[in-house]
């Protein structure tokens, strides 16, 4: 199995080619099994989830073929195939199986796929990214928070009988706002898809460096916006559900 060189240059060039089989000492080819003797190989530290599936670092992935590869690999790496193998090989198989599951879970979902890509590239760091709310949404966000507050207050005050009108009105307002933000979420997803295509068109190698950077920044911003809106929708949902 050949390993595609990563597009982002995260993987130091040449690491894959140097991989040598632990058993037969021939170049292993960098795949799951040695190209020469067929023995299972240890995971390379630099390998990423894309490489695990022998995929280039592209964001548009044919999900059905990914699933197919996943099934093939889980079958090949299944412990049943290693009952007669050495303990070392059994461990390698186990290690690869669990990597397989992580890789599949991450790449299968477009959002976790792009998050993973940006994390690997160091563009996104969990929790430390400079956050900025989408400026054009701030007004609406603020209003939404105000209505949420009013609703909480109205609830905690335990409205006297007959005063339910306010609450109903607030709920209606919030439900509407929620739908509105849900729509915005769909818009962001559509935008993300478009930028996925842009990413996939970035030329490999140094000539793509500038474009790669700017597309990554775009993706990162869209992800921030997405998580922001998703949080809002979720909060409103929680508040509306609770009695």
């Amino acid at each position: 199995m050949s390993v595609t060189k990563t597009q982002t240059g995260i993987t130091p060039a040449g690491t894959q080619q140097e991989a040598v089989c632990w058993s037969c000492k021939a170049p292993s080819g960098g795949g799951h099994f040695c190209a020469a003797c067929g023995k299972i190989q240890p995971l390379s530290r630099e390998a990423d989830y894309f490489a695990f599936f022998a995929l280039p670092q592209k964001l548009q992935i044919d999900e059905s073929s990914l699933e197919q590869r996943f099934h093939q690999l889980s079958w090949k790496l299944h412990p049943d195939n290693f009952v007669r193998a050495s303990e070392y090989e059994r461990n390698l198989a186990l290690e690869r199986s669990s990597e397989l599951n992580d890789a599949y879970r991450t790449l299968r979902d477009p959002i976790s796929r792009v998050e993973y890509l940006l994390l690997r590239a160091g563009v996104r760091k969990e929790g430390t990214t400079k956050q900025q709310a989408p400026p054009e949404l701030l007004e609406e966000v603020f209003e939404l928070n105000e209505s949420l507050d009013e609703l909480r207050e109205a609830k905690s005050e335990g409205l006297p009988a007959g005063a339910g009108g306010d609450l109903t009105e607030l709920r209606a307002k919030l439900t509407e706002a929620q739908a509105n933000f849900q729509e915005k979420l769909a818009e962001v997803d559509a935008e993300l898809k478009a930028v996925f295509a842009e990413w996939d068109d970035v030329p490999v190698g140094i000539e793509g460096d500038a474009a790669r950077k700017s597309v990554m920044a775009k993706l990162n911003e869209l992800l921030n916006r997405r998580s922001y809106i998703r949080n809002l929708v979720r909060n409103v949902g929680i508040e509306l559900e609770q009695g």
């Binding site: 929790g127 956050q131 989408p134 007004e139 603020f142 928070n145 921030n224 998580s227 949080n231």
Partner: protein
């Protein structure tokens, strides 16, 4: 996580909660937010166009205790200061005053951003700066 006494004090007795008339041309409004935690902060100040002194400041924050304390403190600090003095307030000053732990630094950044945004809104209204200057108050996405 334990909040410092000062944070708790501002949280329990927030100073200057409320709003000012957004349409008043002497009022600058800064609305900023942090996507990950969903917190939003609105800071408004009424500025005397002659003396450039901030005469009144109000805030409303939907967020964590540190964000509320940071904005409450910010309104206290900017009152009586000139626009230029207020712009010199750094989030690190807030961090120090409130003894915020590292994970809560972004809450103080929000307050500093809100001050800057309110002032740049006021300047824009006063015709002191072109709309482009608003961008300067918004940290560039990197």
């Amino acid at each position: 996580m334990a909040y410092s006494d000062k944070v708790i004090d501002h949280y329990n007795n927030p100073r200057n909660v409320g709003s000012l008339d957004k349409k008043d041309k002497n009022v600058g409004t800064g609305l900023v937010g942090a996507p990950e935690c969903g917190d939003v902060m609105k800071l408004q100040m009424k500025i005397n166009p002659e003396t450039r002194v901030i005469e009144e400041a109000k805030f409303k924050t939907f967020g964590c205790g540190s964000a509320i304390a940071s904005s409450s403190l910010a309104t206290e600090w900017v009152r009586g200061k000139t626009v230029e003095e207020a712009l010199a307030i750094k989030n690190t000053d807030i961090v120090r005053e409130l003894s915020l732990p590292p994970v809560k630094i972004h809450c103080s950044v929000l307050a500093e951003d809100a001050i800057k945004a309110a002032i740049s809104d006021w300047k824009q209204k006063a015709g002191e700066s072109k709309p482009a200057a608003v961008e300067a108050a918004t940290p560039a996405h990197s």
